[in-house]
């Protein structure tokens, strides 16, 4: 059989369960003992596999790239004499990780085999009803998990139901001033309450600030006969486009 890397890879694609699995595969292909792992060639082969996976448009998990960068860092350290100790440490760590992983794979295979064997026997599947109703509540082994799962479901459902709020565009000082200018281009007198009739609080505040500004620079005169009584606004100056632009510039 032809074992060019690409062909080999395509055979293996479904099989890799993570970076350690791929690494272990490469070590075995070299017929090396894990403890003899040569970092430089393994790094290159590993990178070649990742590249090939990308070429095949496989969705490669970030985990593979993390390992690739670790390997590259190790390779770099191996070339720098004063990093020798650090390199050896990393290499030992990787060897330990691979050896442990190899054991896990063996254990997983054994468990799977046992399960397959066990699955050949069937339990009694009919559930007989011999029970009294008033029984106490008991929580199964997975109680806490069920609790958080149920809560997660509620939260997810609420998220899905949450209306998308379209926030009303907030008023700008510019909008409010434009409105005041429009009113006083036509009228000499206006009641403050009519200007802000059915407007929300933000608008009222902006309008009041605008009025104060216009009073300050002599364009309006304000009269109020009593506390909380009607504020009457009277035009004194000019309300044209130029003036409006000038005032807006001041607020910006």
């Amino acid at each position: 059989m032809d074992f060019t890397p690409a062909f080999d890879l395509e055979l293996q694609l479904e099989g890799f369960n993570g970076p350690l699995d791929l690494l272990l595969h490469l070590v075995r292909k070299q017929k090396m003992a894990i403890s003899d792992i040569a970092i430089a060639p393994i790094t290159e082969q590993y990178a070649a596999y990742l590249k090939r996976m990308e070429e095949l448009n496989l969705d490669i998990a970030g985990d593979y790239f993390v390992m690739a960068s670790t390997l590259m860092l190790m390779k770099a350290k191996s070339l720098i004499p004063r990093e020798k100790e650090s390199f050896e440490e990393m290499r030992e760590e990787l060897i330990f990780q691979l050896e442990e992983y190899e054991k896990i794979v063996a254990k997983a295979a054994k468990l799977r085999e046992r399960h397959r064997e066990m699955a050949r026997s069937f339990p009694r599947s009919f559930k007989e009803k011999i029970k009294r109703e008033e029984r106490e509540f008991k929580v199964g082994d997975n109680g806490v998990f069920l609790l958080v799962e149920h809560y997660a479901k509620v939260v997810e459902r609420l998220k899905a139901l949450r209306p998308i709020l379209i926030k009303p565009k907030p008023y700008t000082m510019k909008d409010v001033l434009a409105l005041l200018f429009q009113v006083f281009r036509e009228k000499r007198k206006a009641r403050f309450s009519s200007l802000v009739h059915q407007r929300e609080r933000g608008f009222v505040v902006y309008a009041f600030v605008s009025v104060l500004e216009l009073v300050r620079e002599g364009s309006l005169r304000v009269t109020q006969t009593d506390t909380f009584s009607e504020i009457v606004l009277q035009r004194r100056g000019i309300f044209n486009e130029e003036k409006q632009a000038q005032l807006i510039a001041r607020f910006e």
Binding site: F122, P123, R124, S125, F126, E128, I130, K131, R132, R135, E136, F137, K138, V139, G140, G143, V144, F145, L146, L147, V148, E149, H150, Y151, A152, K153, V154, V155, E156, R157, L158, K159, L161
Partner: protein
Amino acid sequence: MDKDFKATIEALIFAADAPLSVEKIARILEVDSELVQNAVDELSADYKPRGMNLFELAGGYQFLTARRFYPMVLKMKDTDRSLSLSQAAFETLAIVAYRQPLTSQEISAMRGVQSVSNILRKLQELELIRIAGRKDVIGRPMLYRTTPKFLELFGLNSLGDLPSLEEIGVNES
């Protein structure tokens, strides 16, 4: 009669979800119905003195616990205490656990239902939740909390031990 033949039939009846007919057994084993019927009759007699009996029900055969041992089985099931909560009750309990203290209206709103009062009563009877004061809003509705028994049953030391949504990979917002 071939012992293994009888044993195969025994296995089939035992594992079936519902009473198993002689014809169906005959089809599976690719033998004559009469042969199966004889084996079933023998099995039925074999099981007479035992803990389970072979019953003829709804046109088929099924193993059921022998009636005379019901009292003992009941005793066992009582010690099981394995009453499970309905989905709705579990969900309600989860909401109280994570959002306590809160009112029944708040729970209803989260579950998107009109009322949870029956479930709340049930959970109170099971001593999983309790009333823990009233909320300071109009109508002063009652507030619910989980009980120490809830913690004990779920093997938690404190409410802080409840797994967070992030821990199971769900985003809260």
